[in-house]
Symmetry: C2
Subunit: 154 residues, 2 copies
Amino acid sequence: MRKTHQTDAVFRVFNELGIINQLSNAEFQRALAPDLNTSEFGVLNHFVRVGDGKTPSELARIFQMTKPSMTAIIGKLEQKGFVNVIPSETDRRRKTIEITASGRTARDAGIAATAPLIETLQADFPVDDLLAIQPVLERLRIYLDQRRNPIDGL
Amino acid sequence: MRKTHQTDAVFRVFNELGIINQLSNAEFQRALAPDLNTSEFGVLNHFVRVGDGKTPSELARIFQMTKPSMTAIIGKLEQKGFVNVIPSETDRRRKTIEITASGRTARDAGIAATAPLIETLQADFPVDDLLAIQPVLERLRIYLDQRRNPIDGL
DNA sequence: ATTATATAGTTAGTTATCAAACTAATTATT
DNA sequence: AATAATTAGTTTGATAACTAACTATATAAT
C-alpha cells in the first residue's frame, strides 16, 4: 500500500493547486472587473514588463494557451482600444500586437486595483514560504510542458 | 523597488500554479476520456475513498465548487448510471448521492487509466519535492478560502 | 514550376464553470 | 398560527477556455 499512499498524496497536491488557482483567480478577477479580466490584464502586464510587438502565436505560447483563446483575448483588448493589431509587412499571415497609451493606463489601474490584495497577503501569510516553493513549481511546470509535447513544447 | 519585486514574484507563483493546473488537468482528462471528466472522476473517487451518501451541498463544499456546478456534475453521473440520487425521508428539500456498482467500475477504470501518469511522474520527477510543498499549498488554500468568506468558508 | 507541407490566424461549436434569480421546504420570530 | 428568514437544490444566461476544421500565405520538395 506504500505506492498507493504516495499516489494519493500526489493527487492531493494537484487538487490543492486547482483550488488555489480557482480562488486566487476569482479574487483577482473581482478586483480587476469590470475593465479587464485576468487574461486580458496578463497580456497588458506582459507588454509593459517585458515588451510588446509580439505575435498572437508567441503570446499563446507564453501564456500556455491555445491560439484561438489568444485570438479572442486580443479581440477584446482591441475592441477596448488597449492594443493595436499591426499586420506584418513581410509576411501577410502575421500580425504584431502593440499596447496603446490607454492600454497602459488600464494596466496601471489593474496594478493599483490588485496591489492591495497582494499587500494583504504579504501581511497575513508567510510570503517567504510562497517564494520558497516557486522553484519546484517552475520545474514541475516545465516538466509537464515537455511531457505534453516532447519535441517543442506547444 | 523592493516591494514591487516581491509582488512580481508572488504574481509569478500564482501564474505557475495556473499553468500547472491547466497542464495537469488536461493530461488527466485525456487519460480518463471518454467515460468521465476530471470533476466526475473526483466525485466518484471521493465516494470510494471517503464514503458516499453526501448531499450535493456537502459535495460542493468539499470540492470548493458552487452548488449549480455540483448539480450539473451529479446530473451527468446520474445520466451515466454511476450514481443514484436518493431523496431524504425527513427533509424533502434534501437528496443524498450514492455510487452505483457501475460507478465503482468506472472509478476503478479511471484509476487504472491514470495510474501510469502518476507512475511516470514518480519516475521522472522528484516527487519528494512535490510532497514537500504540499503543506504550504494547503495553508495557502485554507487562507484564500477564509479570506473569501471569513465567516464559514463557502 | 507545380505540388505538397507547414505556419499564422480565424471561425464554429462544445464544455465547464460561475453568478443571479428562482422554487420549494424548513425553521425562527412575532 | 401567521409571517419572515433561511436552506437545499435547480434553472437560466453569461463567459472563457478548449478542439476541430477552415482560409490564406509562405516554404520545401519533386
